[in-house]
Symmetry: C2
Subunit: 384 residues, 2 copies
Amino acid sequence: MREVAVIGVGMIKWGELWEKSLRTIFVETALAAMDDAGVDHLDALYVGCMSSGLFVGQEHLGSLLADYLGQKPIPAARVESACASGGLALRLGFIDVASGMNDIVLVAGVEKMTDLNPNEATYALGTAADQEYEGYHGVTFPGLYALMARAHMEKYGTTREQLAMVAVKNHDHGSLNPLAQFPFKISVEAVLNSPLVADPLRVLDCSPITDGAAAVILAPVEVARKLQKPVVKIIGTGQATDSIALAQREDVTWLEAVYQSAKKALAMADKKIEEINIFEVHDCFTIAEICVIEALGLVERGKGGQAVEAGLTRIDGRFPVNPSGGLKAKGHPVGATGVAQAVEVVEQLRGEAGARQVKGACFGLTQTMGGTGGSSVVHIFAVE
Amino acid sequence: MREVAVIGVGMIKWGELWEKSLRTIFVETALAAMDDAGVDHLDALYVGCMSSGLFVGQEHLGSLLADYLGQKPIPAARVESACASGGLALRLGFIDVASGMNDIVLVAGVEKMTDLNPNEATYALGTAADQEYEGYHGVTFPGLYALMARAHMEKYGTTREQLAMVAVKNHDHGSLNPLAQFPFKISVEAVLNSPLVADPLRVLDCSPITDGAAAVILAPVEVARKLQKPVVKIIGTGQATDSIALAQREDVTWLEAVYQSAKKALAMADKKIEEINIFEVHDCFTIAEICVIEALGLVERGKGGQAVEAGLTRIDGRFPVNPSGGLKAKGHPVGATGVAQAVEVVEQLRGEAGARQVKGACFGLTQTMGGTGGSSVVHIFAVE
């Protein structure tokens, strides 16, 4: 397989973008990435999107987006793994370039979620759960993650305040990110006093509903070395699945797919988790980030809450997690999230992350997951 | 890139499978393919599905299907290109094995369409068109293909009877396929007297709404050579996009994406179209098959109708097209169609196609498309 680099990244300001359609936010983001890479053509397009059918009544995104980007007749694939769709698009784009099939490949993620009312959006998101064994009984994702949180508190003594500290940290980071949906700080008290959604989770434990897109351009590493930018390579990719229904897991506090996908990606990269300097992970709810850092091996099983409280995962901590603000502050347009994580890591490894720059970052990791961890995708990045 | 072979195929009887859910028909088909290949484990899974979100309220198919097949934690990707989703899954599975990333890869296609009423299903299928410029104005796929048919009749003198002859031929072929949804013959008169859907297209010009699945197992060719079966390789893959909206084409009778995708696949295979012995193509409407055989180069532009009338595309003709019965008689569970085409071609090249066997077939081609040809995927197969 060929070595693969990221030669361009593109992001737009995320939020409730009612004046723009899905194709518009995709094209703006893709053009930003193409500008950054200095390319005017593509060989192929991969787009991660969870459910444009339910959110905006539009499937066939590959054709639509290649067309509106002015790039037909290039091959274009829409890929889906629920909220990990962006991570999956990155993986399949990586395999495409690594295989030698195509050279200049755009990997994008997009989701337009706010055209529906919140109840409809919650239904659409719920299709990432097992519809026959979870959805039909009325449980939604806040409810499923609340079960995980309750179990983690019971089993490991994780506190309600520690959950809140995940949100506070990510808003601290997000306040430094001008493209974040909610670029402001919040307090532990604000989280604890925000409306209850599914006990113990409150509104400020939950990532928001967001319109957004993100894009990166992949190419063989030789192409990247000819450009006037630091060369950021993808040196590992891992993907794994778990039982889609939470009730079928042996331990609902443990994310086996995250563990498996990280293990594969690290093995491919020939790295240990301790060697990674920056992490963008899937904090769809505060409890998710705690479970993820445990499954990644940043802390011992059950110690995630304490680690957050101790500051381990702050930008200036030993393992900076979600310097972008994460899903919580940056927003969570589900199909775009995995690609936006890659944008952040590339900017960090290039030293272009401005006020939220992690000093001396050489290796970065992205992790995104679908549902309650029914799927997970991990990538490892390195700067030459 | 490594050489890739199909080491197993699986199909079930298609139709209105109200007693089975999406996961059930997927698992039955996947197990049939694994039995045929003689494998008990997989390294990865690709599943093509157009719109399980709209049809059955379930996304996150990769996780769901890997789980229910007993294959977690393997990586699993759901891919979508409207009615070409199955062809896209085959292409991405091919790239995965060719790259060296994985060895034993299941490529499946699935769609469960009859749980909705026909109006709802027509809406779901309509999301493959440009929603902002086509769907919102009320046009559906029968209407769009009717425009193409009318233009072809006007420009080239194609007759109403020639359109009917496509359906008659495919039902002749399908009558020999025990897994087809409608395995019986029809007459030109029956087509001409069937209810009008969108002038000039009648019910018997249209492929049906179907529940179904299909699966193939891919592996490096060295693995295939150790098995006790003819070795069928994929020697070419091509994918292309066109404007998603029909109104933006220079000529609505010409399928540029089909032409481009076939050109790429044939170049990769180092074959001329005349060297191919069997074709499975996308006859979602009778006019579609006529336009496709022109874009593939089997006949001159505008001569598709005459070619069908002359018997060129019958099983015993110069270019046998849709020996399986095609979408028209076999059924069209949209995400499954592209994979089912591969199943048919593999069985033909192995000499296992029974009453519908094309004698001496050495090279086969599959072509599937999304929307009115906004995307197209072509594969070339060869038996060693």
